[in-house]
Each structure stands twice: as structure tokens, then as C-alpha cells.
């Protein structure tokens, strides 16, 4: 598959949130800050890209040659947690104020779940190192795109009079469901036709 195809598959077609249902959590208050949201977006994409690359390295360089395939899950889980911790420590170094004021966090459970999902998808898909990295970055961008759309939607809903039972998380899930239907327009047949013709 071409690079464009790879990017589109991981960002739109197999979107982490909309088609894999990973990384969903109630919206963090810090994301109201536009700059913090952008920061979080970029670092999430980096985290997913680097994790996918690390997953590839662990899988092909360590586990496969040593025939330790059954250790994949623990190895990936620990590498993702470690990388998230490292990246977050770096972010604290670079911009301590932003991290402290915005609730910026790369180590949330939902995000780790999504990152691990990407690592599992790329390692199971037998991609090369570069492809894994690109796929991870693309998945991260797709994740943040949908997150940005959902944040804007829930900000609009926040100030409406809405039945109490639906306020907040329930409507975020329903909105995500409707969005997932809309995004089904980008399917593999669409990609094949567009890139093939």
C-alpha cells in the first residue's frame, strides 16, 4: 500500500476512536485551552508514532529472534507506559506552566489503551520500521482530529438545555457514534478507487 494509503487508513478509515473505540474518556477540562489542546495533539501523535516504532523494534529485534512471542503483551504494555512517562517528563521540562495549568497528561488510562492498540495493530500488520512510525503518527493525528471535532461538539452542547440524563459523557458517546457512521464514507473501497484511479 502506498504511503498516502497507509496514512489515510490509519487516520480516517481505521480511526482509533471511531472505528476501534479506543481512547474514549470524558473530556478533560484542560482541553478548553486551545494552545494546550494543540500541544496535547502533537505530543499524542508523537507518542503513538514512537510507540509504534518501539513496538516494531521490540517485536522484530528481541521477541521474534528469541522466540518469546508470548511475552508481547507485557513487553508492549511496559514500553508504552515507559514512553508516555518519558514524553510527559520532557513536556514538563519544556513548558512546565502549560502542563501544570491545563491538565495536560499523556499517561491517562484511555490514551495508553489507544496507544497500545496502535502498537498491536502495527505489529500484527507486519509493517516495516518506517511504515510503523508513519502509521503511528497518522493514527495519532486521526485521534486528535476526531478529539478536536468532539470537543467542539461537546462545547456547543455544554451551554444548551439538554435532558439531564444525557448531559456530558452520554451525549459525547452518542455524538461519537453518529460521527462514526458519517466517517464510514471513508472505507477501503473509497481509498482503493481514489488512489488507484
Amino acid at each position: 500500500m502506498s504511503w498516502v494509503g497507509l496514512i489515510l487508513v490509519f487516520s480516517l478509515v481505521d480511526n482509533v476512536i471511531l472505528s476501534r473505540l479506543l481512547g474514549i474518556s470524558p473530556r478533560a477540562a484542560g482541553e478548553k485551552n486551545a494552545r494546550a489542546a494543540l500541544w496535547l495533539g502533537v505530543s499524542t501523535a508523537v507518542l503513538m508514532g514512537v510507540s509504534a516504532l518501539a513496538g516494531w523494534a521490540i517485536d522484530t529485534m528481541v521477541l521474534e529472534p528469541l522466540r518469546l512471542g508470548f511475552l508481547r503483551t507485557p513487553a508492549f504494555v511496559l514500553s508504552v507506559a515507559g514512553l508516555a512517562y518519558l514524553l510527559e517528563a520532557m513536556a514538563v521540562r519544556i513548558s512546565p506552566l502549560l502542563v501544570r495549568t491545563s491538565g495536560f497528561s499523556l499517561s491517562g488510562v484511555a490514551l495508553n489503551c489507544a496507544t497500545l492498540g496502535i502498537v498491536l495493530l502495527t505489529t500484527r500488520g507486519s509493517y516495516t520500521a518506517a511504515e510503523s512510525l508513519i502509521a503511528g503518527l497518522a493514527a495519532g493525528s486521526g485521534f486528535m482530529l476526531v478529539r478536536a471535532l468532539m470537543t467542539a461538539i461537546s462545547e456547543r452542547l455544554e451551554i444548551e438545555r439538554i435532558p439531564r440524563a444525557f448531559r456530558g459523557f452520554p451525549l459525547e458517546l452518542i455524538s461519537a457514534g453518529l460521527m462514526a457512521y458519517a466517517f464510514m464514507a471513508f472505507d477501503r473501497a473509497f481509498l482503493a478507487r481514489m488512489l488507484g484511479g
Binding site: S25, P26, V109, A110, L120, R124, A165
Partner: protein, 215 residues
């Protein structure tokens, strides 16, 4: 930042419904067939209880009632991840042996049990709890609620979205029940990922309603 803050950042620890729902999200991805929901519940239930049990053993040896230092908390967190991921890997192996077809259906979602929000939260809670026995019982209760919710979503999605109910194959029974004319023209969209999200959304609203009725 201590790693023990991780959970409180990712998800409010004092909101069990939200923890349950966030944990349900990745699980719901495989709730296309009833049987998959059952296997997923079983996996979560087993990993959650066993790792909690291991953690209580570990915690008992380490903290004798006193406050946990950040380093101890970090160690605890790491231990929780290691334990849950090894137990998840074991569950994967068992599943591969016992039901290879279900293992394929669960796909990447089986290893994801290791970092499921509910699993990690419950491990964290039990390792802090003063009385481990009580905490384990509590965890079992949560696992049961989780399983019931996932089963509900699975049944809804499979009956409406495919018009069938897939259970265990038994002698003389293929394992699949077809539901009348619904299996001819099911609302396939419900079995897609969007349908899973919609089911979760209405489940969340239902949970809110129940909670508000019973203060």
C-alpha cells in the same frame, strides 16, 4: 508527578460509573456477537480478580498500614502493570487453546485487557484497601456489573444488527439462533462501531437515570 496520580488524571477515581463506562468502550468494540461479549467479560473478570489478588499479597508484605511513599506507589503501579499484562498474556494463551475462533474475533482487544480502565482501577483500589477480602468481593461485584452491561450491549447489537444470537456451539446446536425475519434484513449499522458507541451512550444515560432515581 507520581505514577499513582496517573489514574486520578486519566479518570476520576471516585466515579465508579465513569470508570465502568470508560472500561466498557474498548470492550464494546468486540460486542458484535454475544459469544464474543461473553469471552471478553470472562477475560476481564479473570484478569481483574487474579491481579487484584496478587496485588493484595504484595501490598500486605510491603506496607504495614502506614502511608505509601511516592516511590512505593510508583513501584505498586509498575507491579500492577506487570501483573495484569502477564495475566492477560496467559488469558490469551488459554483462549487460543480453548476457543481459537473467539481468540481471532477478539483480536487486539484481548491484549488490551491489560490496560483496561476498570481493571487497573480495581487493582489500584484493592491494593490500597484496608481489608483485602472485602475489596476482592467488591471487585467481583464490579466485574459482574461489567459483564452484565457488556452482555446487554452484545445481545442488543447482535439481535438488531445481525438478527442472530451466537452462543456456544453444543452437540446438535450450531450455536447460532436466527431471529425470525430480522435475520433477513437486520439494521446492519447497529453492528458497526458507531452502533457500539450509540449503545454505550444510551447505557450511560440509563446509568445516570438510575443513579438519580436512587440517591
Amino acid at each position: 508527578m507520581t505514577p499513582s496520580d496517573v489514574l486520578s488524571r486519566g479518570i476520576a477515581r471516585d466515579n465508579p460509573t465513569a470508570v465502568l463506562l470508560v472500561g466498557l468502550c474498548p470492550a464494546a468494540a468486540v460486542s458484535v456477537r454475544v459469544i464474543d461479549s461473553l469471552w471478553m467479560s470472562a477475560g476481564i473478570f479473570a484478569v481483574m480478580l487474579l491481579s487484584s489478588f496478587c496485588m493484595t499479597l504484595l501490598a500486605r508484605g510491603r506496607t504495614n498500614g502506614g502511608e505509601m511513599t511516592p516511590r512505593a506507589a510508583a513501584g505498586g503501579w509498575l507491579a500492577a502493570l506487570v501483573i495484569s499484562s502477564f495475566l492477560t498474556a496467559s488469558f490469551e494463551l488459554v483462549l487460543l487453546r480453548a476457543a481459537p475462533e473467539a481468540s481471532a474475533a477478539l483480536g487486539i482487544y484481548a491484549p488490551l485487557i491489560a490496560v483496561n480502565c476498570l481493571v487497573l482501577t480495581v487493582i489500584d483500589e484493592t491494593s490500597r484497601a484496608p481489608s483485602p477480602g472485602r475489596a476482592l468481593l467488591d471487585a467481583a461485584g464490579k466485574g459482574a456489573v461489567f459483564a452484565a452491561c457488556l452482555l446487554l450491549i452484545g445481545v442488543l447489537r447482535e439481535t438488531l444488527g445481525a438478527g442472530t444470537m451466537t452462543l456456544f456451539p453444543l452437540p446438535g446446536f450450531s450455536g447460532t439462533i436466527e431471529i425470525g425475519s430480522l435475520s433477513q434484513d437486520p439494521a446492519r449499522a447497529i453492528s458497526f462501531a458507531g452502533g457500539g458507541l450509540l449503545c454505550l451512550g444510551y447505557l450511560a444515560a440509563l446509568a445516570r437515570m438510575v443513579k438519580e432515581r436512587r440517591p
